[in-house]
């Protein structure tokens, strides 16, 4: 254990407060032409909004809108990122006043623009590459995801990363960022930590982090698990991206069992079902209907 077990912290996102036992699905909505899974699927604004409606209907608690893919590729300028993301955030906010909207960004200018458009959470996947992102979150009373990427700069791939103890490195980084965010004025109840599977890690590292997620959840900070269809699932099972749902759900289930509270997912319905099943096993959610053997 990195530190003694502490009570789960409260989690406030947007207008909502989420109890520790509630398992949240964060649905991925990419406004990109070139993301790794189903590239360009929701590039069109109409398609992106359709995806939002479907995700909400399937049980998403949070949307995570992204305008820049994680992988290397053609430059996406700040202006272009804003052009891609802000109208969608505004449209979603208008359609769903209460829905938690997260935006996957690492730069302060798009961050500020999406907060002005109604975003509730800044998903800083690139681990405070822009040190002022936390200040934007503080200014708008938005939430902040504090993540770990090792030594990477945005939109680069890991090259031979190594750690004496990957979980210690992750915990050191994300807890440090969380402290920094609090000092910058971010509401502590709006801070989430994310080990960031695959980011600056090889498959062994991501498997180790999955196995030891309990050490992160024991810190009390709400943990975000972002594993959906990622390469470590693909390498582990030897399957291409379109065939990684079962592996993703296994990671999801293990994470939920170990206390993770937020699950970033492409497959909302399947993730919702897996999490509801875990919640029922834990005794936090009664079955939808129990009649077998009780008639």
């Amino acid at each position: 254990m990195l530190m003694g077990d502490v009570e789960p912290r409260p989690l406030r996102l947007g207008k909502k407060q989420f109890p520790p036992e509630q398992l949240l699905v964060m649905a991925i909505v990419n406004r990109t032409p070139d993301s790794f899974y189903r590239p360009g699927d929701t590039w069109d604004t109409g398609a992106a909004l359709d995806r939002v409606h479907a995700a909400v209907a399937e049980g998403a608690d949070i949307l995570d809108v992204g305008g820049v893919p994680a992988k290397p590729g053609p430059e996406v300028t700040v202006a272009e990122e804003i052009r891609r993301v802000v109208p969608l955030v505004a449209a979603v906010r208008a359609a769903y006043p209460e829905l938690v909207i997260s935006v996957d960004t690492w730069r302060r200018e798009p961050a500020r623009a999406v907060c002005e458009a109604g975003a509730d959470l800044l998903n800083d996947t690139w681990s405070a590459w822009d040190p002022l992102l936390a200040n934007v979150a503080a200014e708008f009373d938005a939430g902040l995801v504090c993540s770990h990427v090792g030594t990477l700069t945005p939109r680069t791939r890991p090259f031979r990363p190594y750690f004496t103890d990957v979980m210690a490195d992750v915990a050191d980084r994300v807890l440090g960022l969380a402290e920094r965010a609090v000092k910058a004025g971010v509401d502590p109840a709006r801070i989430v930590i994310d080990p960031a599977h695959d980011f600056g890690k090889n498959t062994w590292h991501s498997l180790e982090l999955t196995r030891r997620l309990g050490e992160l959840t024991a810190t009390g900070w709400p943990v975000l698990l972002s594993a959906s269809r990622k390469d470590f699932v693909g390498e582990t099972l030897g399957v291409p991206v379109e065939d990684r749902l079962a592996g993703t759900l296994a990671v999801t289930t293990v994470g939920a069992w170990l206390g993770v509270r937020i699950f970033r997912a492409h497959d909302v319905k399947a993730t919702r079902q897996a999490l509801d099943m875990v919640a029922a096993i834990r005794g936090d959610l009664p079955p939808a209907r129990a009649v077998r053997g009780l008639a």
Binding site: L285, A288, A290, G293, L294
Partner: protein
């Protein structure tokens, strides 16, 4: 003497904590609650609950159904749990808001009709005004999807019980064949015969408020006066 009586079935699913987020058979629960209120309306000195169990015995009136036996996380109450039929009866009394004296009396599920009738007469004599709640179910073998699968004798058996209750024919109830009832997994037989004993020599007015087998078990709710 008996001033009112009711028949109710004993599926665990009558306990809403056991059925999850769905509202299962609300019409059955409504009928059971109304039948229990029928007992309260007669202002009895005591309400006797009778139901089949492994042996004939009286149970502590403070006893309740141990829901954790059916759903381990549902939580127990720290006391020895009642047999199912008595537990459901106690639950129905609680839900009807009854806080008065109660007798919880189990009858051996294989007790002879004569023993059942005798217990019924004894319970009727327990106080000047006794209300009786007889808790038990009809056949469990009413179709291929039923818990006890299909037995062709099930539907005629349940029809005969229903007809006897409909016309207040306590002699017919008292004459139910224990062996056939056991074959059909009709756990209500002994309790119904206790009821028949309580009404010995009488032909009560009756009303059947629920008779159906939504899950392959015959549920019968009725009031008798």
């Amino acid at each position: 003497m008996i001033v009112a009586a009711a028949l109710c079935p004993s599926p665990p699913l009558l306990a809403t904590k056991l059925t999850g987020r769905a509202d299962i058979l609300p019409d059955l629960r409504t009928a059971c609650t109304a039948a229990t209120r029928h007992l309260l309306a007669a202002t009895p000195d005591v309400i006797a609950v009778v139901g089949a169990a492994q042996e004939t015995a009286t149970w502590n009136p403070d006893g309740r159904l141990d829901l954790s036996a059916y759903a381990p996380l549902a939580g127990g109450h720290g006391k020895p749990g009642l047999p199912l039929a008595l537990g459901i009866g106690a639950l129905l009394l609680d839900e009807a808001g009854y806080a008065g004296p109660r007798i919880l009396h189990a009858i051996d599920e294989s007790a002879s009709p004569a023993d059942c009738l005798r217990l019924g007469r004894d319970l009727a004599a327990a106080a000047p005004r006794v209300a009786l709640l007889a808790v038990g179910d009809g056949s469990t073998r009413r179709g291929p999807a039923a818990p006890g699968y299909l037995d062709e004798r099930a539907i005629p058996f349940d029809d005969a019980v229903q007809q006897a209750v409909r016309v207040g024919d306590m002699v017919a109830l008292g004459g139910l064949d224990p062996d056939l009832a056991r074959d059909l997994m009709a756990t209500g037989r002994a309790a119904w015969q206790v009821l028949a004993g309580a009404f010995t020599g009488a032909r009560p007015a009756t009303e059947i408020t629920y008779a159906a087998d939504p899950f392959g078990v015959a549920y019968l709710v009725a009031t008798l006066t």
